[in-house]
Amino acid sequence: MDVKYINPFIQGLLDVVSMLGMTSMTRTGLAKKAYLQTENEVNIIIGLTGEVKGNIVFSMPEATAKNIASAMMAGVPVEKLDLIPKSALCELANMIAGNSASKLEGLGLRFNVTPPTLITGKNLLALISQVETLVINFTGDQGPLEMNVALEM
């Protein structure tokens, strides 16, 4: 996968979180994995179809998820990941996918996104797609966060 197609996703995430007031978020790493094996309890999957086809999974510990949800809700503390924080996190994934999509359109690539699904659990193993997964690490005041990108293009 050409790096020029990854940058829109990285920048999409950074632009969206910054717009939501989480300006300390930075990218800390990039690696490849055959599949995602995560200790992170909160994972949000969004699928892509069209000229870019695959899945993206945002993966984070529960603490980061609560902090991000809180930041999205004007700092209201989030004690538990119930319906409203979960909806906020799904909306974040949606916004990042949308932002990345418009950047990729600028590179001449069109795709559609599925609605997000949030998966919570401990010690998950996930095969995100049948191509290898690019793991992009971010961290900020809210905690660590991963964006796992598995695309066929």
Partner: protein
């Protein structure tokens, strides 16, 4: 189109794919409205779709069932559902089921143009799925290889 309509093509596809590819006979239950999410039995194959229908399909089963299904496909025995071949077999079954279901729907409703994402597989204990703003229906099926739950979650307001 009523919400249970979305799940019917998938019920048919699961029954025929399991019978033709695996020799497993599936008996079906009734659709159940699960609201916004459900708990997995431990092994979930997930396929998304866009176009005229936007949403996600889940094929969910206990790990033991996934191991049996993979064993039928490859002829091997596996001691864990986390084995790469079990994951890949799960993904393939999910792919074929969705391919069949969506082909039938696209043929029946020209212009819907539904497209599928590649399948994903999640394995773990005590994990659950939440879909925001999607209405979700499950059907629990029984088979010789164990129970199978299928869930289809589609965005409301679409055809």
């Amino acid at each position: 189109m009523s919400s249970t309509t979305y799940i019917v093509p998938f019920i048919k596809a699961v029954a025929s794919v399991f019978k033709d590819m695996l020799g497993i006979v599936v008996t079906r239950g009734e659709p159940v409205d699960e609201g916004e999410g459900f708990e997995s039995q431990g092994f979930a194959v997930i396929v998304g779709f866009t176009g005229g229908w936007r949403g996600r399909f889940f094929l969910d089963m206990p790990p033991a069932t996934a191991i049996k299904v993979a064993g039928i496909l490859t002829g091997e025995e596996y001691d864990s559902a986390t084995h790469e071949e079990v994951l890949l077999c799960g993904a393939e079954i999910g792919n074929v089921v969705c391919g069949n279901a969506i082909t039938a729907v696209n043929d029946a409703y020209p212009g819907l143009g539904i497209r599928l994402t590649p399948p994903s597989v999640f394995v773990g204990e005590g994990f659950s799925m939440f879909n925001v703003r999607l209405s979700s229906y499950s059907v629990m099926m029984q088979t010789d290889a164990g129970p199978l739950k299928i869930n289809v979650a589609v965005e409301e307001g679409k055809r």
